[in-house]
Amino acid sequence: MFTLIPFLINGLTLGLLFALIALGFMLIVGVMEQINLAHGSLFALGAYVAYALLGPPLPLPVGVGEWWAGLPLGLRYVLALVIAPCIVGLLGILIEQGMRRTYGKDPLFGLLLTFGAAMVIEDVIRSVWGTRDYILPTPDAISGGFIALNLIWSTYRFFAAFAAAVFILLTWLLIERTRFGAVIKAGAHDSEMVRALGYDLAKLRIAVFAIGTMLAAAAGVIMAPIWGIRPHMGVDAVIPAFLIIVLGGVGSFWGAVIAGLMVGMVIGLTAAYASEWSLLSMYILLIVVVTFRSRGLFGKKSILEA
């Protein structure tokens, strides 16, 4: 018979994945007060780079491609999870270098700059990899399904949700439990304080932007086997990221995580009872929450509004 528990479990895993997608976006908007509209494209780029590393051998000189392809898939997968974010993070630094010209001006310019960057990245992806889509190969250990509660469950999905939880935890530790975190939290509001603590504000911004974009790429790698890889997959990522941040409240770490879980739950549950509403449910949730709490669940009066 129809039981609810599988849908709750599914909602939870989905929620963690959504929170992961929103994580890098949240960091940049929360700390730097910049909306990174390229988040989705960087997410997609992460997935593509991972595909380049895990898919058919690359045309690299003197057998490097073959050597790489000869490594076990599991090892390559772990390495891809490190390399792809690093490459994308470098691009993030490049974007930040452009963005710094807009600091102090209307924050709109930062948003528009990343919008332009998103368009460029998406078209670069399209011209390099073409429009066809790809499936990211995964190691046997985390693919296939297993049986529980008399149902078949996807192993990868649980792996992905676990990885999402790990990334969320690491980000939290970074912000709350390190000196670096304390400084970046101060940096958003008090540049003098940052200097007083002996940090260079410019470098700090680079670091935050790089971490934010690396998280976007990591989310892309993790989501790729579930969503498939295609040029406009970024749009699928940036929109939930947006809604989750608005829902959770700008600048609130746990707000974003809880909003992600809520969205996952709502989608999971509506899928059980009214499948055609499942994507719409997240928008309805947003409208309901914003109606009663216009700054989102955990949003404080932000200096973004000043």
Partner: protein, 337 residues
Amino acid sequence: MQTPAHAGRLITPAMVGVALVLLTVPLWIAKVGLYQYIGVEILIWAIYALGFNLLLGTAGLPSFGHGAFFGIGAYAFGLTQFHVAANLWVCLLGGILAASLAGALVAGFVARRRGIYFAFLTIAFGQVFWFIAMKARNVTGGEDGLLPIARLPADFGIVSFDLTGNTALYFFVLALFLVTVVALWRLTYSPFGRVLSAIRQSELRAAHLGYQVVLFKMLAFIASAAFAGLAGSLFAMAQGGAFPEVMALHYSGYIVMMVLVGGGLVSFWGPVIGVVVFLLARDLLGAVTLTWMLWFGLLFVAVILFKPEGIAGVFQDLRRRFSRQPAQAQPAARSTP
């Protein structure tokens, strides 16, 4: 945006010049390798962009979800045609009203917000409307669009113009474009528009001067949504259908892009310049390369980084440079009213 010369006039020399040029377009557009339909689309987007700039350039409110109102106008035009009356004026009114109402609804949520947070919420609401348009298949036709929307005749009682041809539609849209230009010029430089501009420059001061800032923002938002609705209605008529894509985040971004590249922040005419450049680039580059967005995106990034005042800003710089010599003979204050 500084107050330009002729701000106090209803019709300025620039308007007359633009009108004259646009009136001759059907005579030469095919000769320069373009086609009538692109002219129609440029004018429609120009109406949209000018209305949008009331919000962005004058009131300083960066709406990133304005495609919603454009789309709502298009759907409302079609739905009015199917279910209320197949009369052009009724349908246009339907499009404008629906967009204004949606604008009022969103304005209620966003008018208290500023800067990035404002952009944030408008994006979220834009997505909501876009998604509804995609989902409400019974009303909007969903993904496939609302079809077929007829190009209704422009009935003036004694005389009725058939608009099914692109040239006829061009002249009709041109007439509405000119009305929009006059109306928005007047609005921008009216007491209302000046207060909006003041709010952009210092919301704090405006509030302490006794202006109810939220009310003004809401009205600006609604007015701009109304123009988007008008443009959307015309777009539905031009395309013979209403489609959800124009409501998506990308298209909402494009309108910001057009207004900014053209120089909407520094000039009333900036949005029009931006629309012409964007749509022609899409058409001409799009014929040559499938990755035209790459090149336009790079151009856009360059504009943001190096010349946020856009193309109109470049013109203004050039004019200032050329007028420097004579300026010594004249008092410098000539540029302001």
